[in-house]
Structure formats: structure tokens, C-alpha cells
Symmetry: C2
Subunit: 333 residues, 2 copies
DNA sequence: GTGAAAGCGCTAACAG
DNA sequence: CTGTTAGCGCTTTCAC
């Protein structure tokens, strides 16, 4: 393995000079610079990042911690973060925590030990508290998707309450009365969407039916199980709303299992637009989130903050869009 | 930040001893060990991984390089690699290359510079050549999904030729004659699946129709465009087979765009089982790959190899499964 | 069984 | 403008 000393010797300069050339620092004569570059090239020298990191106590790596790699939302976000980071000269590590606070903590510790430059995170509610206790906030951090307050971090989110209110109102205004809602239990996101949902019912003088409003883990099988249980009661809903696309898939499976038709037997709407949501018959009515922009914005904010740690932190709220398709029965009007 | 010297001083020992205790090395008196551990605990000391890595020239990080994070195949693999690696005390970095050989190379270089312990990779055909040229093979490496020969690496794959042959034969045996096939162009996988496809046609004395056998990039929009073009010709197929789930989604979109019905107007079958493939009506007939096992096996092999670099390399071939649902029209018999 | 000391490969004062 | 030097925090001989 060729090291900086080898380059220095071959170029007849000191290691300091080689280091300067590579870091593009001033005060190096052009001819020396050229000579060094040539040697670097011919020897195929590549700086040892580990040594650089140790010495300068800084790296060009940021981490993205997501709670579920199978959630299309995070896939899009991940792609955006990747794009933005690479443009700005950073690499990104992707971590999957399965919405498990324990894993989240391990992960954060690991990242600190590895001295990453910063972190983008969508924490569980529990983790939000951990964040304050431990010294994780020494790392530059931006939190996405989940809402935090009183924490010294940047934040990029959407207006969950409003978005849920919008899509629920849409359902109500088209005649549905017994509307079920299934929400993720681990995140502030689920809470907020539930709030918008319930508020929409109340605003239209509909009394929420507790048996039809459920918290659950936000995965496919949880959606399936929850819906199956609902369908077995007397209180069958005439419409159902899910808080993300994984829950949606589970509920749709349950609807099929019960050989019900959409929107005839039951109307359907959900958060998150996906490829397959358009493919289904009927296609799904959804709230589309600006996933790519969320990722891009988060990455850019993080890197700005890395470069200027005392920059005041800010919250960015991005807009969502209601996409009306056939699953809510509204296009039949 | 508390460092090893602080622990040593507080415990009244040398840094060497602390290091020994933490690495669980022999030749330390139990009482000393206990005292050191207590100090570590009370000071909240965490070793600096960067320094460890630099000094010992080894890390506990492996990387998984995938070509498309939106491909459910890689999501499952990723989860499996994660699970297995953590069980064995390793962390995993996830990299997305978008099937771009350039990105792949940058990534591999980056990983070498960062001194990761090993890499799991599904390379493009082009990258397989790069691998030999450059010294990437100094890193322990296992290649998944794609076939490599003559390279000093471990390999875990499925039998693509046979699997494609099986599902194509199934289509043929149920009366379809004008069967189209769409395959990924960037990978050996696409080539092999095409080979199985064509061989099945020939084995059943069906003459392949060149206009209906296409290579393309393996993404949704490519599947859509390719199918749209096929549907505009005189030579409309009576069945269509796609080489992965992204292409499948694109083709299905095209089928809908042309208001054709499945399997009435056209039968459909694909590689890769997905959640939404079951959700569709009709549900999709597919070849299911043992994705989780692929990931797990790869991670375990890699770590074995890291721990014993001169271990002879091996190829593991895992079995696939044909899942017959309604989209191929075969259940109507 | 334990400590002293020599680096891992690099960067950043400080001289000159 | 360039070289010398002193570490970054840790592991690992080599003595004792």
C-alpha cells in the first residue's frame, strides 16, 4: 500500500507538501504541485481516510437512519439524500432500525464512535427522548418525517394533521359515515395523522367510533390483522383510511380475504403514493408526500450545518398533495 | 471526550492494560479487570473506532452494494444481511449504485479507502471486469445475484436459466404461443434468464420472435416503454414474461394503458414475488427467489472469509419456486 | 501480569 | 513557499 511518505520521497518533497497539494491548500508553487500530482497519479496513491479522519477529526460521511427499508417513502428519501450528498462531496451510510428504539440507540452510538460528520434520522417517539439525555446531539443532526420540539436540531416535515384532515374530509363529503382509521403507533406521525382524521370527523359532526380507530405497528401484517378484526365485528366500516402504504397493503389483503369490493363494499384511502397503488383496480386515492424533496432538503440542511455548526436551526414544512383515484368511489359522481 | 488514557489514570493502570481488558485478552488479573471495567462504566468510556481501525488495520464494518434500492429483491436481501451481520458483531453500510458502473467503481474505491472489512456486491457485467483489473479483490468479497467465473470470490446465486425455463414452459404448456420476454440489459442475470426463456421455446418447437424478445434497463419506465412499443406492432404477443418486478410493474401499467385484460387479452408472468403482486387482480404468477436466504448466506460467507482469508472460495446455488396464480390463465383449466 | 514506548498514516503548527 | 515536528487515540511488541 502506497502512503504519503512514498509520494513525498518520489517527488523529492516533504509529506507536508504532498498533503497541501492534495488538500488544494495555497502556498505551493505550481510546478511543485504539478510534479506531486504526477507522482500521485503514477503511484496510484490514495489517501488513507481512516488516518485523515483520526488526525483531522472529521469525515465526509453522513448517515441516514430509516425505520423501514421496505417502506417506499424511505426508499425515495434515501435516493434523494444520496443524490444531494454526492453532489456536495459526501458519502452516505444507510441504517435500518425497524422502528426499534434499542437498535436506534445502538446505531447512534456506533455512528458517534465512527465519527461520522452528521446524521439524518426519523426517530421513534421514544428515541426523541433518548436524544436529549445522551450526548448524541453533539453530532449535527436533522430529523425528518417526525416532529420534534425543544431540541437543537433541524427538522423537515409535512403537515400531517392538515393532510389527514384533507383526505378524511374528502371521504366524508362523498357520503361515507362509518370511517375507520389505522395509524402507526411508534411515531409522532401516526399520532398527528390520527388527530387530523378525528378532527375532520368532528368538523363534519360525525361521532368517531372508537372500535374503528386503531393504533398498530406500521407494517403490512399489522394492517392485515387489524383490518381482519374490524371486519369481524358488527361495526363494519363503510370506508377505511390507513396512515402509510404498508398498512394499506395489509388492509387491502384483508379486504380481498373477505371478498369485499372497493369502493362498493368499502371505500379506501391512504397516505403515500406508490407504483402499485396506481396499478390496482381500483387505483388508490392517496396523500402524496414530496419524498424526494424531503430527502434533498434534509441532506442539504445537514451539510450546511456541518460546515457551519453554529447556524441557527430551522424547521421546514413541505406541502402534500391529495390524489383522487377510484378507490374512494368519488369519481363516480 | 474521554479517552483510554483517562481510564488508565482513573484505574491506576497503564493504557496497555485497559486495552487488554477491553479486547478480552488473557493475562490480566481478575481484580484488575473488574476495576478497569468499573471505571470504563462510570466514565462512560467508548473506544474511538477510527483510532482502533488505524492502529490495528481492521474494522467491523461490511458493505452491501446494491444496484437498486427500489427493487424489492434487494430490500429483502438487505434486511437479511443486516440481521446476519449484527448477530456476528458487524455493522453494515448500504450503498446504492443505480446499476451504474461508474458509481460502482467510486463506491468500491471509497470502501477500500475507508478500510471496510469486506463487501457484498451485485455487480454489473462491466464491473465484473473492473474487479479483475484493479486491486479491489484485496478486500474479501462475495458476489450475489450475478454470476462470475474465474474470479477469486465467493458467489451466491440461483439457477436463472432453469428458473426462466420452468416458468416459460408453464406458459407454453397452457397454450400460449406468441410469448414476449423483457430482460435487464446490465446484468448477467438478464442474459441467463433470456437464455432459459429462449431454450424453453425451442424445447417446445416454438420459433422465437425477435421483435418480442427485448433487452432494456431494468426499471419500471423501461418496462412500460418497451411494452408500449410491442403493443403497437402487428406482432402482438399473447403472453408476456418479465425478468424482474420493476419491469413487471411497467409492463402492467402499459397493459392497463392499452385497456387490455389479463389473462384474457394477454397472459403475464414474472420473476420475483412481491406484496403487491398478490394484491393485484388477477394475482401474478411468478418465480419466487429465496431472497432472505441469499442475503443471510452471503453475509455469513463473507464474515467467515474475513476471519479466514485463505479459505477456499465457493459458489452456492439456491433454489427458486414457481408460484402459480391467476395472471397466466392457467388456473382456469 | 503489567508498563513503557513505538508507531498506524496523516495533518497542522511552527520555523525557516 | 516548504520542511520539521508533534501528535490524533489506540494496539502491540518488548522488557521487567
Amino acid at each position: 500500500m502506497v502512503k504519503i511518505k512514498d509520494v513525498a520521497d518520489a517527488a523529492g518533497v516533504s509529506t507536508a507538501t504532498v498533503s497541501r497539494v492534495l488538500a488544494d491548500k495555497p502556498h505551493v508553487r505550481p510546478e511543485v504541485k504539478k510534479r506531486v500530482m504526477e507522482v500521485v497519479e503514477s503511484l496510484g496513491y490514495r489517501p488513507n481516510r481512516v488516518a485523515q479522519n483520526l488526525r483531522s477529526n472529521s469525515s465526509k460521511i453522513i448517515a441516514l437512519i430509516i425505520s423501514d427499508i421496505e417502506n417506499p417513502f424511505f426508499q425515495r428519501v434515501s435516493r434523494a439524500v444520496d443524490d444531494a450528498a454526492h453532489e456536495l462531496g459526501y458519502s452516505v451510510l444507510l441504517y435500518n432500525t425497524d422502528e426499534n428504539p434499542e437498535k436506534e440507540k445502538i446505531c447512534l452510538n456506533f455512528l458517534r464512535d465512527e465519527n461520522v460528520a452528521g446524521v439524518i434520522l426519523s426517530p421513534t417517539r421514544q428515541a426523541i427522548n433518548n436524544l436529549a439525555d445522551t450526548s448524541f446531539l453533539d453530532m449535527p443532526m436533522v430529523i425528518i418525517d417526525r416532529h420534534v420540539s425543544d431540541l437543537d436540531v433541524d427538522n423537515v416535515v409535512i403537515d400531517n394533521v392538515k393532510s389527514a384532515h384533507t383526505i378524511t374530509s374528502h371521504l366524508i363529503e362523498h357520503g361515507y359515515k362509518r370511517i375507520a382509521g389505522i395509524f402507526g403507533i411508534g411515531s409522532t406521525t401516526g399520532r398527528e395523522r390520527r388527530e387530523g382524521f378525528v378532527r375532520a370527523l368532528k368538523d363534519h359532526d360525525i361521532k368517531p367510533i372508537p372500535d374503528l380507530i386503531k393504533y398498530t405497528n406500521a407494517r403490512e401484517e399489522d394492517g392485515f390483522n387489524t383490518a381482519m378484526k374490524m371486519f369481524q365485528t358488527q361495526e363494519r366500516p363503510d370506508a377505511i383510511f390507513t396512515s402509510n402504504s404498508l398498512l394499506a397493503a395489509g388492509v387491502l389483503l384483508a379486504i380481498r380475504e373477505n371478498t369485499m369490493t372497493i369502493p362498493g363494499d368499502i371505500a379506501f384511502a391512504s397516505f403515500d403514493d406508490t407504483t402499485w397503488g396506481k396499478l390496482l383496480d381500483p387505483a388508490l386515492t392517496v396523500i402524496e408526500q414530496p419524498t424526494y424533496e424531503i430527502g434533498r432538503t434534509a441532506a442539504e440542511m445537514l451539510i450546511k450545518r456541518i460546515q457551519d455548526p453554529k447556524r441557527s436551526n430551522r424547521e421546514v414544512v413541505l406541502n402534500t398533495k391529495l390524489i383522487i383515484r377510484q378507490s374512494c368511489g368519488c369519481l363516480e359522481d
